[in-house]
Every structure is written in structure tokens, then in C-alpha cells.
């Protein structure tokens, strides 16, 4: 129909306008940031701040190069930006991180000098991030974007081993320790979570079914209100006494400091979300369904295993996800009682006023928490979809 196609064209036109506007806003904000704020800093050493590096300086130093770079980037944005916004975003971020290695290679940087990210650097990240997240792209395009980025990252990473970017310098120096603390962080979180799971499953089931369970549930709730740091500290005392009275435990490494109280504290914190997930999950199963099951001839155990538990799973998964991510985050406090973990870098960094060291602890931690949240979230969605027909 003539009318329909005209309307269609108008709508298409409008959305095209909207996309064009978005790209314009994106490019303009990037350019503004570049000119107003310094992108990097040339620091003489790890603690003293140095001279800022502005985009205008870079332009005047190598005009043609930067004009070409900027030009091609803008072109790229307008050509494929709407369809591949994640790719643009990723390219921008990748460029910011690899630029120092590329540009300052061969520059006679005096020893100790390093290039550290400045305000402009982080602001550009913000703009790039929003552009990528708010982009309305198809799943296919997104997959392509990620694939291309993965390849580019794979190529870029080995080239960074001499990068003067302060964060990379710090990473090179602390690499062994970082891996050690990362593993320790994972160890602490894993054992705390596993322990909490083992305890909360029977307690959660109790809480859902019998009144006795209510007591345990309330206790888990009270534990949550104790500030994490306080709980870590509080647990040191009983463990110390325990280790003194029972020497064989000391041989196994249980003591007032270190992993034992840390794991216990982390585990206690994880109890509440786990128990809530289990309790609410079990409660969400309709009573009629269970009665029908009983009446048809399910034994109590089979009824629980084949009907009740599967139907409870979505909420149980939600609780598990919260508990796991929370444990990872709380473990950042473990180094305060000698248990190690990624928090070590955060506290050392604060103590030495080295932002880079703090970030060395923060970035992996973010990766861990966001990553596990995403993975568990996907798992939860998958579970919910297969049970989408559930819960009439």
C-alpha cells in the first residue's frame, strides 16, 4: 500500500536521523574531551606526578598522523557505528591502552619515566562505554564485533611487553605476586562458598519446611548486619584459641590469622543469600503440585528430587549467584587479617599512594565479579527459559 510504505519510509528516516544524531554526539564528546583534558601524564617515577600530555600536543608533534587517525576513526563511526557499536567502542578502548607502547616506543624516555592515564583517558572510556552499551545491535553483529576484538587483543597483548604505560609497568613488576594473590583470592572464595553451600542447603530446606529452620534463617540475617571487617576481626579470637587448644589443627594451618577465619567469615556472609534462595525457591513450588505428586505415588525423596527441586531452581540459582559474587567481593578484605587475595594490592596501593597498584587489584576483581555474575546470570536465564512454562 502506498500509504504504508510512505509511513514506513518516514519511520526509517526518523530512526536514521536518531542514529546519525547519536554518532554526532559521540564524536563531538570525544573531540571535546581530547581538547579539554589531558589524556596521559609523563611521570618521572612511580609516586611523583609529571607533565600532562594533551591531544593538542600530540597533534602539533605529528600533525598528519593524528589527523589521519582521527579522520579514519570518525569515518568508521559513521559508516559502521550503528551496526557495530561494540566494535567501535572496543577499538577506542584498545587504542587508548596500546597507544603508549606504540607512540613512545623508541622515544628516549629517561629511566623510571612512565606514561600514566590521566583524566581524559578515563573520560573517554566513559563515553566509549556508553556508546557500546547503548548501541542497538543485532546478535550477529555483536558476535562479529567480539570476534574481531578478540583477534585484535590477541595480537596487541604480546606487543605490550615493553609498554611504558604505568599500569603495565606495575603489572610486569608484580606479575608473580598478582597471580599468587589471584589464586589465593579464588581459593578463599571457593572454599568459603562451598562451605556455605554445604551448610545452607540443609538449613535452607529446614527453613522452608519446619519452624526450626526459622531460627537459623534469622541468625544468618543478623550475621549480614555485622560489618565485614568486624566479622573478620571477631573470628580471629576463637580460631586462635582453637588453634592453641588443638595443636593438630595448627599443623593443618588453622590459626587465628590467615585463611581459616577469612574463609569462615566469607562463608557466614554467604549463608543468607543462599538460604533465602533455597527457602524462597522451595516456597515457590505450588502446594497443589506437590499434593498431586504425593497422591500419584512419588516417594518423599523422589518428590523432592524430581519435582520440588527442579521447580525451585530458578530462585535457588538467583540466591547462589548473589552469594557467589558477594563472596568474591568480600574477599577483598581478607589481606587485612593476613589471608591474602586481590585486596592486597588495593591496600598496598593505598599505603604507597600508587593508583596503579590499586588498579592492579581492582581490575582483576572486577573481571571476576562481573564475569561470574554474567556467567551465572546466563545459566539462570537458561534455567528459567526451560522452566518458563513453569509457575502458572
Amino acid at each position: 500500500m502506498a500509504k504504508g510504505s510512505r509511513l514506513h519510509k518516514i519511520i526509517e528516516g526518523l530512526s536514521c536521523q536518531a542514529l546519525f544524531c547519536r554518532n554526532m554526539v559521540f564524536v563531538i564528546s570525544l573531540v571535546l574531551i581530547c581538547f579539554v583534558f589531558p589524556l596521559y601524564q609523563l611521570d618521572p617515577n612511580r609516586v611523583v606526578r609529571g607533565d600532562p600530555v594533551f591531544f593538542s600536543q600530540l597533534l602539533s608533534d605529528s600533525t598528519i598522523l593524528f589527523l589521519c587517525l582521527t579522520g579514519s576513526f570518525i569515518l568508521l563511526v559513521f559508516v559502521i557505528g550503528s551496526a557495530f557499536s561494540q566494535l567501535i567502542s572496543g577499538l577506542g578502548i584498545l587504542f587508548l591502552w596500546t597507544f603508549p607502547a606504540w607512540y613512545w616506543e623508541g622515544y628516549p624516555l629517561a629511566s623510571g619515566y612512565r606514561v600514566s592515564p590521566s583524566i581524559g583517558f578515563w573520560l573517554m572510556h566513559l563515553v566509549l562505554f556508553f556508546y557500546g552499551v547503548l548501541g542497538d545491535t543485532s546478535k550477529r553483529n555483536r558476535t562479529i564485533s567480539w570476534l574481531v576484538l578478540a583477534i585484535l587483543i590477541g595480537i596487541a597483548v604480546p606487543l605490550q611487553d615493553k609498554s611504558p604505560l604505568s599500569l603495565f609497568i606495575e603489572l610486569r613488576a608484580q606479575r608473580t605476586r598478582l597471580i599468587g594473590e589471584l589464586l589465593q583470592h579464588l581459593r578463599l572464595s571457593f572454599f568459603a562458598f562451598a562451605g556455605a553451600l554445604a551448610v545452607s542447603v540443609p538449613l535452607g530446606v529446614l527453613a522452608a519446611k519446619k519452624s526450626v529452620g526459622k531460627g537459623f534463617y534469622a541468625m544468618a540475617g543478623i550475621l549480614q548486619t555485622v560489618p565485614s571487617l568486624a566479622l573478620f576481626g571477631l573470628l580471629m579470637v576463637p580460631y586462635r584459641i582453637l588453634a592453641q587448644q588443638v595443636p593438630v589443627l595448627r599443623r593443618w594451618g588453622v590459626s587465628g590469622i590467615g585463611a581459616a577465619p577469612a574463609i569462615t567469615a566469607l562463608g557466614l556472609y554467604a549463608l543468607l543469600p543462599l538460604m533465602t534462595g533455597i527457602r524462597e525457591g522451595l516456597r515457590s513450588v505450588p502446594a497443589q503440585t506437590l499434593e498431586a505428586g504425593r497422591g500419584l505415588g512419588f516417594s518423599p525423596w523422589m518428590l523432592f528430587l524430581k519435582v520440588e527441586l527442579p521447580l525451585a531452581m530458578p530462585l535457588v540459582m538467583a540466591g547462589t549467584r548473589t552469594a557467589f559474587v558477594q563472596t568474591l567481593g568480600n574477599a577483598a578484605l581478607a589481606p587485612l587479617i593476613g589471608a591474602g587475595g586481590l585486596g592486597f594490592f588495593i591496600f598496598q596501593g593505598i599505603g604507597q599512594t600508587s593508583t596503579d597498584m590499586v588498579l592492579l587489584g581492582v581490575f582483576p576483581l572486577l573481571l571476576l565479579t562481573l564475569g561470574s555474575d554474567a556467567i551465572l546470570g546466563a545459566l539462570q536465564k537458561r534455567l528459567q527459559r526451560s522452566l518458563a512454562h513453569a509457575h502458572t
Partner: protein, 305 residues
Amino acid sequence: MKLSKILVTLLILSATVISCGTQKGSIVVGSKMDTEGALLGNMIKLVLEQKGYSVVDKIQLGGTPIVRKAIISGEIDLYPEYTGNGAFFFNEAENPVWKDASKAYARVKELDLAKNNLVWLQPASANNTWAIAVRKDLAANAGLKTLSDLASYVNKGGGFKLAGSEEFVNSPAALPAFYQAYGFTLKPEQLLILSGGNTATTEKAASEGTDGVNAAMAYGTDGQLAAFQLFVLEDDKNVQPVYQPAPVVRKAVLEKYPELPKLLDPIFQKLDLVTLQTLNARIVVEGKIPEDVAREWLKAAGFIK
């Protein structure tokens, strides 16, 4: 039932994996979490390892209370501590003996052996005590070398702003003690109080001139002083307690390994103020890891190969 048994076994195994227990012929070396603690702890560890001990590394374990508890309860065997801290461990902050280096050392050695069965080995000569550091340009312009100089400068109305922690500004043993001894006070607008006793932050503030700050609370052996272009004013009236680092060993361990003093005393003898400042600077300013810095220096000084 099976599942819970497996879980329990796993938990026990993991506890073993996470932290090694002490075996015969080994020694557990700990230290505080700060830079200097890491440096000294690593020095001790590397020397002992060179001599064939199997060292369990608990360096950078935590703050002073944690490490102290650890050695008293026997979880670590050896760690570097400061002589001046004896005033707080044994609750004798008013005792003037802590202001004299040798008297302080003698006192803490006597008390710790009697009360906790801990033996203090020979201390280093460096004094890592609380100090006031000013910007080099201010020191040059106003001719400041000692705290007495500072007192007269301030009393004459010289421009001065000090960044310090809550504790430093308010504790009777710190700034108020300086006031009393040198006869000056600082008005509230001449102070910038940063919470948390972090000399790195205060020094950075002075170096960058944040908020008009031109002086900072500092520790004597801080590595970043030179980099921040700060000059430490001499405590000519000896107001502050003396904080000399020394290895502290459990008596039982010393009896097992009586050669420990022979190994560690020479090292600590060589650690004077400038040496410690330089080594700390390598860690904080250059970003090297404490173990590497310790190893390099020990090699250069001929203690290890």
C-alpha cells in the same frame, strides 16, 4: 552421607594446601604489611635460605597487632619490629627511656624476654620515627634545618601548613609533644588532617602543594622523601621515641638455631638511615618488588651470592 564426607575431606585437604604447617628444620619468617617490613622480612628470608634453612614466607602478613599476635602465639618464628613500639606493647608511653636509642633497646629486650619469651637481636642504626618533613624550597628559603628553626619560623609568622593524620596531630606523644618541647603551636588553619596514618599521602600532599600544604608528617626512613623533594627536620631536642628496626625471635626457635644472631646482626648493623631510605625508594618510587631490592642489596653487600 557420602557427599558430606567428601566435602569434609576436601575442606581439610584445602586447609593443608592453603597454608603449610611448620616442619622440622624450617623457620617461619613474618613481617608487617608496609614497605619497610617487606624489605626487612625479605632480607631475613633470603639470608636464611642461602644458609640452607627452609623458610616459610609469611611476609606482609598484616598490621602490627596481627603480626604481634602471630609471634606470641607461635604462628611465626621471626619478624622485624621497632624498638620504640615497646612503649605501647608494655604500656609505658610516659617512660623517658624510649627516647634514648640504647636504653630503649635494652628495655624492650628485657621486657619481651620476661613476658613473652621473645628475644630481640641487634637493631639497625636507622631511626624510623615520626618526623616533620618540609618542602626543600621552603627549607632553603627559610633556612630550616631543625625543629627549633621551625619553631622560631612559625612563631615569627612564617607561612606554614602541615598535613598529618588524626593520630599524629592529637596524640600526646606526637605533635603536642613537639609543641611542648620546641615552644610553638599550629593554628587549625595551619593543619590539614587526613584520616588514616599514611605518610605517603601526607608527603604527596606536601610535594604537590595541595591545599597550600608545604610540610608533611613523615617517617624517618620513608623512601619517597627524596622523590617528593622533601627535607626531614632534625629532632634536635629528641622529643620522639626512637624506632630502630631489629629482628625479634621466639626463644624456643633461637635455642633450636643459635646461629641466628651471627647471621642477622651484621646485616642490621649496615642498615643506616640513608641506606633504608634508598632501598625503600627503590620499592616505592621505582616500583621494584621488595624481594628483588633486598636480593640486590644483599648481593652488593656480600651477604649472599
